[in-house]
Amino acid sequence: MTKKTSDVSRRSFVKGSAAATAAGIAAPSIFVPHATAAGAFRNDPGSSKTVTLGFNVPQSGPYADEGADELRAFRLAVKHLNGEGDGGMMQTMQPMNLKGNGILGKKVEYVTGDTQTKSDAARASAKRMIEKDGVIMFSGGSSSGVAIAVQSLAQEMGTVFMAGLTHSNDTTGKDRRRYGFRHFFNAHMSGAALAPVLEAEYGRDRQVYHLTADYTWGWSQEQSITEATAGSGWQTVNAVKTPVGAGDFSQYITPILNSGADVLVLNHYGKDMVNSLTQAIQFGLRDKQVNGKDFQIVVPLFSRLMAQGAGENIKGILGSTAWNWKLQDEGSKAFVKAFGQEYGFPPSQAAHTCYVQTLLYADACERAGTFNPEQVIRALEDHTFDGMGNGETLYRGEDHQCFKDVLVVRGNQNPSSQFDLLEVQDVVPRAKVEYSADLYPGELGPYKV
């Protein structure tokens, strides 16, 4: 095989061949060459009057409802960016550089796609947006596996990805990428936020039984909770891996009954969490007394859609969440009002993070004065903002993780409506969940691709 001696020659070879194509094959006009001239970047809107964003969410598969809510938030964000409606969080965002005339004076348009919550489908859909629809940024997602897969694509293609719902430490840890940004919180923060509340509520020295979804997110969640609660003298009795999509968890639940554990942590998400929680409660775990203490169940990551699926069973269960519509800060109120007026019900945390991500990206473009991703990324890195529902927030440059307040919530005992499923137990300040970027080492990669 040919061995290249320098990077320069390889690059020029590629350029040369691109020129050869232009001469040899009549390349269709939609394949405008990119990244050839200095300062040029993929899908530069140039003199066009519009700019296109891509919203890549699960529309089929188990997270379709969550995807639908994300899509509502995206549509709302586009409306607000284009100066329609009441502007939502654009009224409270600090600092705020958006003018309500689109982004950099270009009207915002959007395309949508279906990730099916599968990495391959999500990447295919994202590629369609980038290659065919010419999006300058894309966003969305409902699982960490998909987010990580799509994020590495963003890096390859040189198109910014503003992640939606993804909770794994890996997204901004070992799999972090220069072109990927996460506003949502992660498993580490869940653990850090929950630990003090758990100790206050359930006391020290508890015996913990983990049921953990048998894949990367589940493992990292289990690890984060174990580490965070170790200081309270919580010990792991057993940690059992359960197959994803097991459906009936009874065979994993019965061994807990006589294991001597007095706390059950369910490191499950989505349907698995709905099923395991429902069944754990059926087995009477919450009515048990073990070691002289009331048996407790903890679900470290909550979402409202999961709470709906679990119904009655969620009542009184503690967990963490990124945001809740009942927060009383100005930003949250403005967003809930705009969303509620548009759709007739309050937004979920997935909708919140997607909305905020879109606004943050647009704001960064305004601050950078260009759509060039290199500058936009630099504008986002280490940017501090406020008024978006989670207090003062930092987009940390080293790993592209947002640091903000985390909510500890409890399943509402007496919900006043079908949306009032979670009550905010505690707002854990950002300082308590912060960690060093080296804790989960990874490489962001280059600005220019």
Partner: protein, 338 residues
């Protein structure tokens, strides 16, 4: 010891569901010779009978939600509660058992419509075509349910008297460590009685006799001038009712969503193959056997020796059975071998 007894209970419970699904599938296969990939969809439709009845009973007036101040929000109060108060609430909590009354005619109708409208035209087509058209039907049914009910699971409550746990151990003098959810016990007895009814129906009625004869040798029975086809379409309806009820009663255990049928589909085929294609007792036996083995494979003691065994146990059993005894546990030789 307690742990093993509990796992046996788990296995019986799971096995009840597996057996019911496999029973319906085997009825259809045995009588009509059709490989029905839409069978999981019948299970799902049954579950959604419960969801629908619950929705009907909780049909609500919208009352302005005063707790929400930033926008016009409404909360829903069911008419039944509005009119009947406490009684209404109790009635609503009985929606799952009550929906049996709804599900029997509905599933019977769906089964007959499916057989008359679609399956009938595929008796003479290759098995591959049957698999494919029913698979297409399954996708369509599931997408329709998704469009009407959303993708999220719909939790179903159980009546007060069946909620909570029963101390099974104390009943048999085995100590206090064996407690089990009452509804799961109900499900087990329910599945046993449905299985019993189906067998009694086939054993003791003339209709059943003809069907059994038809399962054994279709041509001969037809030569006797008996219209098998008509009876078989009723059998299809019966199978639909059985799977529908299996799904319906399972809703409090597993909150149903549109995909629940697909989740059970592969498994139900494995059960049928292990039991023996076309053998009703085989399907029941295999259902319980697989349920129990799956439970045992999930025990920590087993998993520590063979990590990941609980993920593949079902498939492993299917493989071993197919290779060692291709006709299945109780199947006849040569069914669908060519």
């Amino acid at each position: 010891m307690d742990a093993i007894l509990l796992q046996i209970l788990n296995g019986l419970d799971k096995g009840g569901a597996y057996a019911l699904i496999a029973l319906g599938l085997t009825l259809i296969f045995g009588t009509l010779g059709v490989v029905n990939f839409a069978h999981g969809a019948l299970f799902m439709l049954g579950a959604f009978c419960a969801v629908s009845l619950n929705k009907m009973m909780t049909a609500s007036v919208k009352v302005k939600d005063e707790s929400v101040t930033f926008f016009e929000a409404f909360k829903e109060v069911p008419y039944l509660e509005l009119w009947l108060g406490e009684t209404g609430t109790t009635l609503i909590s009985w929606s799952v058992p009550l929906s049996i009354l709804l599900a029997i005619p509905v599933m019977l109708f769906i089964g007959l419509a499916m057989e008359r409208g679609l399956i009938r035209h595929f008796y003479r087509r290759p098995h591959a075509d049957q698999i494919l058209v029913t698979f297409g039907l399954a996708i369509v049914l599931q997408e329709i349910v998704k469009a009407s009910f959303g993708a999220n699971p719909h939790p179903q409550a159980v009546p007060e008297m069946f909620s909570g746990t029963a101390n099974v151990g104390a009943l048999f003098g085995l100590g206090d460590n064996i407690v089990y959810p009452i509804w799961r016990l109900v499900y087990f007895f329910f599945s046993m009685s449905i299985i019993g009814m189906v067998f009694a129906f086939l054993q003791f009625t003339t209709f059943g006799m003809v069907v059994r004869a038809g399962m054994a040798d279709r041509e001969t029975v037809q030569l006797l001038g008996i219209n098998i086809t008509k009876r078989f379409s009723i059998v299809f309806g019966l199978a639909a009712v059985v799977s529908g009820l299996a799904g319906l009663m399972y809703t409090p255990i597993l909150p149903p969503d549109y995909h629940i049928g697909m989740d059970f589909l592969v498994l139900s085929f494995v059960v049928v193959v292990v039991g023996g294609m076309g053998s009703l007792p085989g399907a029941v036996l295999a259902g319980f056997l697989l349920g129990i083995l799956q439970s045992f494979a999930s025990m920590n003691e087993v998993k520590s020796v063979l990590p990941g065994i609980d993920q593949i146990i079902i498939y492993l059993i299917a493989m071993v059975v197919l290779l060692v005894r291709p006709r299945g546990l109780l199947g006849r030789k040569g069914v669908m071998e060519d």
